[in-house]
Symmetry: C2
Subunit: 312 residues, 2 copies
């Protein structure tokens, strides 16, 4: 039996339908792809913002406050929070989702946590699909929140129109941010907990590194915004920096180019996932199982077995 | 013309041949796969150690000192340092590779930096292949050093026998380490710069979270080791914790299981990469290019275009 979702109810923004739609897609139920395909023409209106940074930078608090800010402007906000799932806690110990409750009671805010590990299929595919659902349901702003300086934040940068990297004075200097690959993905930086010692120095060192980037009068100049999210300080500065970046994207034509690039990598991901799913049938899994022993004993190599599998 | 590498010289541990071999494989030259396949039977002897953690935790210094420690035991050490490459610096600004020079002059140490971004093919494939080359060349210990709490350190955990997560008191508490997904990948933790305030508290909070893991008398119990790598303090503790973990892996039979699992995911990766390379021929790239406009205007969907491409 094919489970169905009432698309009209979703387009009307019905919260229960939104929640059911995301689960439907996340669990890769039969018909999920057709559902997403039907939905697709109703997407593309929401502005998508990625919020990333190291653990403990205060991303959840900041996301919460930013959602409240957009609510005060009567915009509907969807939040997709990506957490690595711990197999022994299932994320239940996490306090953040509790802190989120300030906006959770608001009908104009929809929060969804997604696990970055052990999920079926790619995370970036799942988060983008959830964003499409929120987009179609009339949410104006979508906030992706993710921990990390690795693949998950690259995925977020690939799904967002504007990517905000949140640091704290303790995160280290500009050189370290560069080493962690944050310079490439940040459309701008937020120095949170900026009432702590060393904040000005940290801001300076990031600005200095940003200044090294080759640029002309037409390029976007990433800046650093100072906040104390827990006290709500500087949230308006983040919002206006996002607005400035959006304006730049639109004026320069980068907006269309970015979105086209995102759709392109999305298609590549869909194709890779489909290949993997169809390739690893029972027969090929058996060949792999049977072949591992010979590889362990160095009587065969991973390359030969791969050839064999690809030819089968 | 097919470039060739003298395998006998490589097996004899000739440094220039090691360097050439890694470049040969990294650039995916014709014959690279056959070369790796021939090499494979000479691999599996080296012990592989992953060293990861947030930027600024002192991983490079610690790796350097650990290499020196193993040298003092007359073991040959290969270091594979994974850095995100900055397109505007090419990594040239980084100071770490300079700090490494203490061991770089040593004939028994081989250091190779690899870029985690923009590389052809998967990073985990490349780092494993470089490790195989070092392994075949007679290096006894291979240290993988990587920044991050994302994909790259998951890759490292998937390539290493023992994974060490390096933190500093400023990295935050156990809950934050858990949120960043570090609990799952750490075989043990190192609290570096442990002379700084808050170190004992940070160690305690990680131990507490570790204690929550379901375990019996047969399970490995991850611990936290305190170091001040810059002064060489605690390096012997890391080495003995690695030895204890190795002993556990061997005694419990986990060692063979881990390595079999690693070979399995390696084969899956080889197959995925080969599919992607053959799939995206000129014709299909053209279909994708031509199709993006209709998707941008919502007259087609990524799902339909993917279907079309897969059928072509």
């Amino acid at each position: 039996m094919i489970k169905t979702i009432d698309i009209q109810k979703l387009l009307a923004g019905d919260r229960r339908t939104v929640a059911r739609s995301i689960s439907f897609v996340e669990n890769e139920n039969t018909g999920a792809e057709q559902f997403l395909s039907e939905l697709f023409k109703h997407t593309g209106k929401a502005y998508r913002i990625g919020i990333t940074g190291p653990p403990g930078a205060g991303k959840s608090t900041l996301t919460n406050k930013l959602a409240k800010y957009y609510r005060s402007q009567d915009l509907k906000v969807g939040i997709i929070a990506v957490d690595p799932t711990s197999p022994f806690t299932g994320g239940a110990l996490l306090g953040d989702r509790v802190r989120m409750s300030e906006v959770e009671m608001d009908e104009g805010v929809f929060i969804r946590s997604m696990a970055s590990r052990g999920s079926l299929g790619g995370l970036s595919k799942k988060t983008r699909e959830a964003a499409d659902i929120l987009d179609a349901a009339g949410f104006n702003i979508i906030l992706f929140e993710t921990v990390g300086v690795g693949q998950s934040e690259l995925d977020i940068a690939g799904a967002a129109d504007t990517t905000v990297v949140v640091l704290v004075p303790e995160s280290g200097d500009g050189i370290q941010a560069m080493k962690a690959g944050l310079m490439e993905i940040a459309d701008f930086f937020v120095m949170n907990k900026s009432d702590r010692p060393g904040a000005d120095q940290a801001v300076m060192s990031i600005k200095m590194i940003l200044g090294f980037r080759p640029h002309d009068e037409h390029s976007w100049m990433a800046d650093v915004v100072k906040t104390t999210a827990s006290e709500g300080k500087g949230i308006d500065l983040i919002a206006s920096e996002i607005a400035r970046h959006k304006e730049y994207l639109k004026q320069s034509g980068t907006f269309e180019k970015r979105r086209a690039g995102q759709l392109r990598s999305r298609i590549e991901e869909i194709i890779r996932d489909k290949f993997t799913m169809t390739f690893w049938n029972a027969e090929r899994k058996q060949i792999l199982d049977a072949g591992i022993t010979d590889i362990m004993s160095r009587n065969n190599t991973p390359y030969h077995l791969s050839e064999l599998l690809l030819k089968s």
